[in-house]
């Protein structure tokens, strides 16, 4: 028997089987009230299960839309908090500085490279949204990069997974500060290098942003410390397992230091005099 003929035969058998089974269940349902109730209950359960699956699939595909809505709401709420804070300052009421001298703009990653040595990220916010070169790109789990160039609607950033990037990091809330840079190999590993030999760290300590640069706010958790090794017999290097999974990141926040121009002018003045 050829394959086509065999397939046709299986289809006919299956159709006949389903038809006869339906007829049999019909007889069973019609002939006994108890079985009628039982079949109805089974049918309702099956339908409910199928609806449940359908809802699960639907809600999974609606997640992205929901995240966008939540992000937009978050942006609006942050704006409202900042406006309220300004009003309080104007009214002369002392208020805690929740933004710690930074402004925050939510953004979505349009493109992100992960397989090169000089990785980059492109975001959907540009100069029209107030983004400037030198702004930081962060998430709740860590630092993503620094904005390098800005277009009207898009911005291009150097990813932390870039051999030219480094972030000022601190081990613990009040530990030693050092430059954290990508190890050049894995998606979730970095290292703090150029530490004096007497400086070491316990395995499992949390690493935060130091907050001493004008790019990132302090105390953003970046990862946990791993092994400590000596480089060229002169400095210590600490491995860091990052919290941020770069393969799944999609939504980020752009941070800008308030009064950054003032700091840069001051630096420029100090360098020239």
């Amino acid at each position: 028997m050829t394959k086509g003929k065999r397939d046709y035969s299986i289809l006919v058998s299956a159709a006949l089987f389903i038809g006869l089974e339906i007829a049999a269940f019909g007889m069973l349902s019609y002939g006994s009230a108890l079985h009628n109730v039982w079949i109805n209950r089974m049918s309702h359960r099956t339908v409910a299960t199928l609806w449940g699956w359908e809802e699960t699939v639907k809600s999974y595909f609606a997640l992205r839309k929901k995240i966008e809505v939540v992000t937009r709401e978050n942006e609006e709420l942050s704006g409202a908090v900042r406006a309220l804070q300004n009003e309080l300052i104007k009214a002369g009421i002392d208020t805690p500085d929740v933004s710690e001298g930074f402004t925050y703009t939510p953004a979505t990653i349009v493109k992100m490279s992960r397989n090169n040595r000089l990785n980059y990220v492109i975001l959907d916010k540009g100069s029209r949204d107030g983004v400037e070169p030198g702004d930081g790109i962060i998430t709740a789990c860590g630092v993503i990069g620094i904005v390098d160039a800005v277009d009207e609607h898009l911005s291009y950033g150097q990813s932390t997974m870039n051999l030219n990037s480094s972030v000022s990091a601190r081990i613990g809330h009040s530990g030693i500060v050092g430059p954290l840079s990508w190890d050049g190999k894995s998606n979730d590993k970095a290292r703090i290098s150029n530490l004096p030999l007497h400086i070491t760290a316990e395995k499992g300590d949390t690493v935060y942003t130091s907050g001493i640069s004008a790019v990132f706010p302090g105390d953003i958790p970046l990862g946990i410390t791993g092994d400590v090794s000596i480089v060229n017999g002169a400095t210590n290097m600490i491995d860091v397992h990052l919290f941020q999974d770069y393969s799944s990141v999609r939504y980020v926040t752009l941070v800008k230091k308030v009064g950054k121009d003032e700091i840069e002018n001051l630096e420029e003045y100090a360098n020239t005099h």
């Binding site: 035969s9 089987f17 006869l20 089974e21 109730v37």
Partner: protein, 166 residues
């Protein structure tokens, strides 16, 4: 086995089944049914659609003539007919299946035949017992009933197969 011989044995066994159902009063935890064995061991020349129709008519007549619940045996026996080719391919092999060889315990061994019978009875009694209880009996009782009915029907079927073969 010739087709006419099979139909004769089938008719006699179906009548025997009806008589057993009518006159033999068995406890609630035991049901004897040899129809799955007849359907499962039908000659391979009989194609699945035709076997489904044979199963439907036989089961319907059994239900109708034994004042049982109409449709109960039909619902349970149809999957056995539908799965027959699949079971043959598993237990006997594709080659015998393609050649449409007759199935016998002498040719293929009792173990393989038993495999086909056990799976057929399991499918049949699983559906039969669950549909018969309609959610009113505990799982333990249903499990015991399936086990007892399968064992009894399997033994009777083997005796019948030996008798026919001799």
């Amino acid at each position: 086995m010739r087709d006419s011989a099979f139909y004769f044995i089938f008719a006699v066994t179906a009548i025997l089944q009806i008589l057993v159902n009518v006159f033999l009063h068995l406890p609630a935890w035991l049901t004897i049914c040899i129809l799955p064995a007849l359907i499962a061991l039908a000659p391979l020349r009989i194609r699945t659609p035709f076997l489904l129709i044979i199963a439907f008519i036989t089961a319907f007549l059994t239900d109708f003539l034994t004042s049982g619940i109409l449709g109960l045996t039909v619902v349970s026996l149809l999957p056995v007919a539908f799965l027959r080719n699949f079971l043959y391919k598993i237990f006997i092999g594709k080659e015998s299946f393609t050649r449409k060889n007759d199935i016998s315990s002498k040719k293929h061994g009792l173990l393989r035949i038993s495999g086909i019978l056990v799976v057929s009875f399991l499918v049949y009694f699983l559906i039969f017992v669950l549909a018969d209880s309609a959610g009113t009996r505990p799982l333990l009782f249903n499990g015991l009933r399936i086990l007892c009915s399968m064992t009894a029907s399997y033994v009777i079927s083997l005796i019948l197969i030996k008798f026919i073969a001799s």
